[in-house]
């Protein structure tokens, strides 16, 4: 480095060569040490990770903005191309949905009456906040997202992350301004689910592939291709009945296609159901009321 005076450079030269020779082995040892420490002290690594995410959240937020805009634009153009067909499809769907609306209204009033009869206590208030995906993470060996919402927005560990169509994953790490969602396809994701038709219980276990597996299914269960999978509410982390996916293959290892295409999500909704379930109390603080103006207006009772 010639920004130092020449005589200094010359006298430092032997030191420099020694340093360079040892830099490789020293740093190699340090990498291994970090791997070991990371395995042993998960909380420390988590702090480092959320710290990094917090610092980088504004940068990633800006960088991912044009991408989000572009994918919206591409979506628009594609929609324009088959607007007539889409219109027909929507008309048909609307007819079906109107029928469902009738059913839902009837069930709602019936449900209301029955709740009155049993003096049912509704569970803790549900609220949600919408976050934008600002970082994809994991490469080939894990499946997670970084979103631009953190503890200041009321996000806490264990909350469910959903898209418009179904469950996406859960909040695994929370920073101040950013949080990490562990997708249901990740190797470490385990979600208690119910098969909607047969009411069989199982665990939806990710293995980093696009189609998570159904494990611990009872041997007598007969899963059908196309059968809906919803959360079972076991373990008390997610409430029962959130759509998760559809069975795509049966056999020795049934697999499920998630409701949402996890690779093209731009926005997710973080939902708090007021459940802390199996997670240790320290990991899940009591659900906070969201700060004013940060939750969506449609917060349900």
């Amino acid at each position: 480095m010639n920004f130092l005076p020449t005589h200094l450079t010359r006298s430092l030269a032997p030191l420099k060569s020694v340093l360079q020779r040892f830099a490789f082995s020293a740093l190699l040892v340090m990498s291994v040490a970090i791997i070991v420490v990371g395995k042993a002290d998960l909380a420390f690594v988590e702090r480092l990770r959320t710290g990094t995410a917090d610092v980088m959240a504004p940068v990633l937020g800006v960088l991912s903005q044009p991408v989000t805009a572009a994918s919206l634009l591409i979506g628009r153009v594609r929609e324009m191309a088959d607007v007539y067909r889409e219109n027909d499809r929507l008309r048909a769907e609307n007819t079906t949905l109107l029928q469902w609306q009738q059913v839902a209204r009837r069930l709602e009033s019936e449900n209301h009456e029955l709740r009155g009869l049993t003096q049912y206590q509704p569970s803790a208030a549900t609220w949600y906040v919408t976050g934008r995906v600002i970082g994809t993470a994991g490469g080939a060996y894990s499946r997670s997202f970084l979103i631009d919402r953190g503890s200041v927005d009321g996000v806490t560990k264990g909350q469910a992350a959903a898209s418009g169509s179904g469950l996406v994953g859960r909040i695994a790490e929370v920073g101040e301004r950013a949080s990490r969602i562990l997708l249901l396809t990740d190797l470490n994701s385990r979600i208690p689910v119910t098969l909607q038709d047969s009411h069989e219980r199982a665990i939806l276990a990710g293995d980093n592939s696009d189609r998570p597996m159904l494990v611990y299914l009872s041997p007598t269960a007969k899963p059908q291709i196309g059968e809906q999978i919803v959360t079972s509410g076991d373990g008390g982390v997610f409430p029962p009945g959130i759509p998760v996916g559809v069975i795509s293959s049966v056999g020795s290892q049934p697999r499920v296609i998630p409701m949402t295409d996890l690779s093209t999500i731009d926005y997710v909704r973080i939902v708090d159901f007021g459940l802390s379930g199996v997670l240790p109390q320290s990991a899940v603080p009591a659900p906070k009321a969201p700060r004013k103006g940060q939750s969506d207006p449609a917060t349900r009772p």
Partner: protein, 173 residues
């Protein structure tokens, strides 16, 4: 525009440029592109950078910089439950491997250099797969790792064009 003033006066420019560029690539690796299945097969821009600079400007991308950038990359992109520290390890080993074989590659034509990169990626991906499997005690799904390797090798010519351009702009030929 030959050498930037920073490069001329302080001599720190040549070190700064590859280091900052590699750091930028680490950030860009985490930006979602909305392409189906892109996340799982995001090419390793870091390996491209390490290979290029170690071949053509070995002094300017140091082990220390690679260690820090690799660690930052791991902290930024790894999911909960995955190993932190694997990327710096791979990057250090990659630089060491390229540095030890540099003589055989540096004056060769691009196809030869490219095949050298393919070999590096193959070895790095295999080592990473083995370590990731060992550290989680589970056999990792290898499809996405394979596609990632193929994509990394396939995009290398484009990256080389970019690196060579940056090299010319900031440091002269």
């Amino acid at each position: 525009m030959k050498a930037s003033p920073a490069a001329r006066v302080y001599g720190i420019g040549p070190i700064l440029v590859p280091t900052l560029l590699t750091f930028l690539l680490a950030i860009l690796s985490a930006v979602p592109l909305g392409i189906p299945a892109y996340t799982a097969v995001t090419p390793s821009f870091l390996l491209m950078s390490v290979y290029h600079w170690t071949l053509y400007r070995p002094e300017q991308l140091s082990y220390a910089a690679l260690f820090l950038i690799g660690l930052f990359f791991d902290l930024l992109t790894s999911a909960p439950g995955t190993t932190v520290g694997l990327t710096p390890l791979i990057l250090l080993l990659a630089r060491w491997a390229v540095l030890s074989n540099r003589r055989n590659f540096v004056a060769r034509g691009f196809p030869f250099v490219w095949s050298g990169f393919a070999a590096l990626v193959a070895v790095a991906a295999t080592v990473q797969w083995i370590l990731a499997s060992l550290l989680t005690l589970r056999l990792m799904e290898a499809h996405s790792a394979l596609f990632q390797a193929v994509l990394t090798v396939g995009l290398f010519p484009a990256a080389t064009l970019l690196f060579a351009r940056v090299q010319r702009l900031t440091m002269g030929a």
